[in-house]
Amino acid sequence: MPKLLMFHGRECPHCRAMMPLVDRLEKETGSSIERHEVWHDEKNADLMRSYRPILTPQCGGQLRVPTFLNTETNDAVCGEMPYEKLKEWATK
């Protein structure tokens, strides 16, 4: 079973905007997305940094939030996006 991760920051407006879409996605598809806040939790920050080689080429060369990662396919999308794009990432 692939793991779907979301890395977000408490004071990141894009992350806040994505939260309701993540809730909706979980409800509609029955999938679950593990949320990791990275600026107030060093363990979560280290987890995100451990994926740096996978994430940065897909996210403008940096560790950005929000970032969504499928740990099986290593497919990552980042930033604020429409629901359809998020769903496409989650169901691919």
């Binding site: 890395f7 920051g9 408490r10 004071e11 990141c12 407006p13 894009h14 992350c15 806040r16 990275v38 600026w39 107030h40 920050a45 995100m48 940094r49 740096r52 403008g60 940096q62 560790l63 950005r64 939030v65 930033g79």
Partner: protein, 141 residues
């Protein structure tokens, strides 16, 4: 490597590869001498008074944008959240790191995410009519 320089007339401190030819404060030419990081820290910190609050920072970035083709986002709710994150990151990690990215723990890389960062190169800014920095703290005029 960048070094520290001190104006021998007015004690302005400069950090860079080369000293300024003309001191921007006292206008004396060829006035800069190389100094150690310790001396630079002493002089700069001794001159620092009080806290630099969120409102000080807001004023600073408004002044910084005044003559630029971008401005501080007028959406106060958004900028309040961002400033809270920037200051919270400074409290826990010493610099005003971007709330919408994460430190990599690679010093040179992390200097690129100190606010304000060089957002002119962000794909959310470049080539867009309504361009903004990655977080939306700064927007095109």
């Amino acid at each position: 490597m960048k070094k520290f320089w001190r104006c021998f007339v007015c004690n302005d401190i400069h950090y860079g590869f080369k000293p300024p030819e003309l001191c921007p404060t006292c206008k004396v030419k060829n006035a800069y001498v190389e100094i150690s990081a310790k001396e630079a820290k002493m002089i700069a910190c001794a001159a620092a008074e009080g806290d630099f609050t969120k409102e000080d920072f807001r004023r600073a970035i408004e002044k910084f944008t005044a003559a630029n083709p971008f401005k501080v986002n007028p959406d106060r709710d958004r900028t309040d959240i961002l400033l809270e994150g920037i200051f919270s990151n400074e409290a826990s990690h010493d610099l005003k790191y971007c709330p919408c990215r994460l430190m990599s723990k690679d010093w040179e890389e992390d200097l690129k995410i100190v606010c304000p960062c060089n957002f002119l190169i962000h794909e959310t800014y470049q080539g867009r009519d309504k361009g903004e920095c990655w977080c939306g703290l700064f927007i095109k005029r």
